[in-house]
Amino acid sequence: MAGVGVYRPEKIVLNDDIAHLIDSSDQWIRERSGIIQRRYANENESVADMAVAACLEAIKESGINPVDIDLVVLATATNPAQLPNLAMEIATRIGATNAGAYDIGAACSGFSYGLAVVSSAILSGDAKNAIIVGSERMTDFVSEKDRGTAFLFADGAGAFVVTSSDKTEISNPVWGADGTLNDWICMTKDWSSYVNEKDAEFPALKMEGQKVFRWAITEMVGIAQRTLEKAGIGVDDLGAFVPHQANQRITDHIAKSLKFPPHVAIARDGINMGNTTAATIPLALDTLRRNGEVKSGDLALLLGFGAGLAYSGQVIVVP
């Protein structure tokens, strides 16, 4: 791990700005999710634009020359075009002219899956320097009038630069997926239905919130424990817990169940950024670093989970 970079869209959206659209209130949103505000991208902040900005910041910290980057992986669920993938454009725009580039999709677990992919590429020798970037414009695919999702999701990007090292700084993932539950977080319709239905509404995200909540607070505790076991450490060894920022109440429950000692910083970036799907984990780590809540060399437990239903846990050494 050689660098972290993020992009936070300019526009800040408060609960009161959107509550009336879902017959809700600031208090209801705060109690239900912990979210106080989030950011929405404008027309000049595309998925690629935000990813490029996050990558450039991460590259700057790493000190690596972009031409020496071998692999660029974008995790996103919100590329509006079927093809090409956006990673190629991002690689070109950041000057990674010698890199292979492609997108992966695992929704809210996308960044964690992508981190495992680039880590493997480096361990295998396929790449010496790599970037994993998560970038999302969730607002393009969420209905502002859906009470179950409108207040949760938002936009942003975050990136890690990963380089070859003598030491293991990214543990092997504990990951999985259960496709039998994929209708708990999915789109209201697919593209062909949208095209073929008369006067069809644009496809939007829908979620069985209470079912997903229960799944997350029951399953992710065990996944986190297995991730620590696989990395050969215990909760006392951690400096930070950086879960996907789905909902602060999920974070609360997992943190309480795992009994973290007081020195473990708990990432709560979602309070100010909402759920940015594949971008939450780098954004949340960035905030902990900026606030001095973690320091270089600390161990952080990352935990991605969401649509699929998919999940991935890893332990990293904070750069």
Partner: protein
Amino acid sequence: MTDEQIVSELAVILNEVAGVDQSKVSADKSFLDDLEVDSLSMVEVVMAAEDKFGVKIPDEEVKNLRTVGDAVAFIKKSA
């Protein structure tokens, strides 16, 4: 277990999960309106109750459990 014992155990769970004052918990109280237990807290209460009483409370049943008394009746029926 008697009804009173189940109410008492539920009060402990409601306090631990949702910070409800145990003295306010009685059979006639509504989870949402009287005890201010929202839907996500209700998920946690149900999970804790399942562990405590050794019962399974299906998702479709949870919405029928409006009051503490409803929950007591379901737990007695299922145990």
